[in-house]
Subunit: 111 residues, 2 copies
DNA sequence: TCAAGTACGCACTTTCCGGTGAGTAGGGGG
DNA sequence: CCCCCTACTCACCGGAAAGTGCGTACTTGA
């Protein structure tokens, strides 16, 4: 974690950079997700990484975790906080650019 | 580099993710930069990384390198290509969010 | 009895991102 | 003679990011 920042983009990258954080946020941008739903939508992420990144996003105040389950029936839901929602312009722009880029380069995207 | 993508944000992150690519692109969004100017604006990046990331951005068609120098007087300029300019909405959104985030968290940004 | 679901934990391993320090060839200046 | 500038290269290294494989407790269903 850099101690000093020299531009605003460095600040943003520090919080939402990396391979999986933007993807997690993009899925949650569409609505509440259970843990298993996130796993299914992100088949290439390890569980270790998914949980670690979710914890970090919670710690940064971007994601909230609701445990609605019981020991007999586990049920956890994740959703964006107000701070997380403030990222919608970034996530929307990333998504739009990624779609256009995939179209220009013929890159397949498998849901 | 993942072989398969499951959403558009993964595509975007693969091309412009990492600690320094977004920052390089953000500086070039403001206009042409010489190598030394980029170095001065990004004091925490190593030269090895700066050059490596610039090379990758060139390879992806986002950045163009113009060598205007001579052996006696080296002079290289970097600028965004049309494809690079297509990233302006992403970079602007990252910048705006980073500024707001820094303000909300009291994070100093030193130019 | 086994497999699958839920939402994780844990120890270990691998990859690669990023840094360091020294170097290059030409120049200028104190 | 030494320091600075330009725009890099190179070998080596550390650690964070990410993955792997097995595990947990409770349930349901074949």
């Amino acid at each position: 974690m850099p101690r000093r920042y020299h531009c605003a983009v460095e600040v943003a990258v520090d919080v939402i950079g990396g391979r999986w954080r933007p993807v997690i946020l993009a899925h949650l941008k569409e609505g509440v997700h259970r843990y298993g739903e996130l796993r299914r939508r992100m088949p290439d992420v390890s569980e270790k990484m998914l949980v670690q990144r979710l914890r970090e996003l919670e710690a940064e105040g971007l994601v909230a975790r609701h445990d609605l389950g019981t020991p007999k029936a586990p049920h956890v839901e994740y959703h964006l906080t107000a701070e997380g929602h403030s990222l919608v312009p970034v996530l929307a722009a990333l998504h739009a650019w990624g779609l256009a880029r995939a179209a220009r380069t013929g890159t397949p995207i498998e849901p």
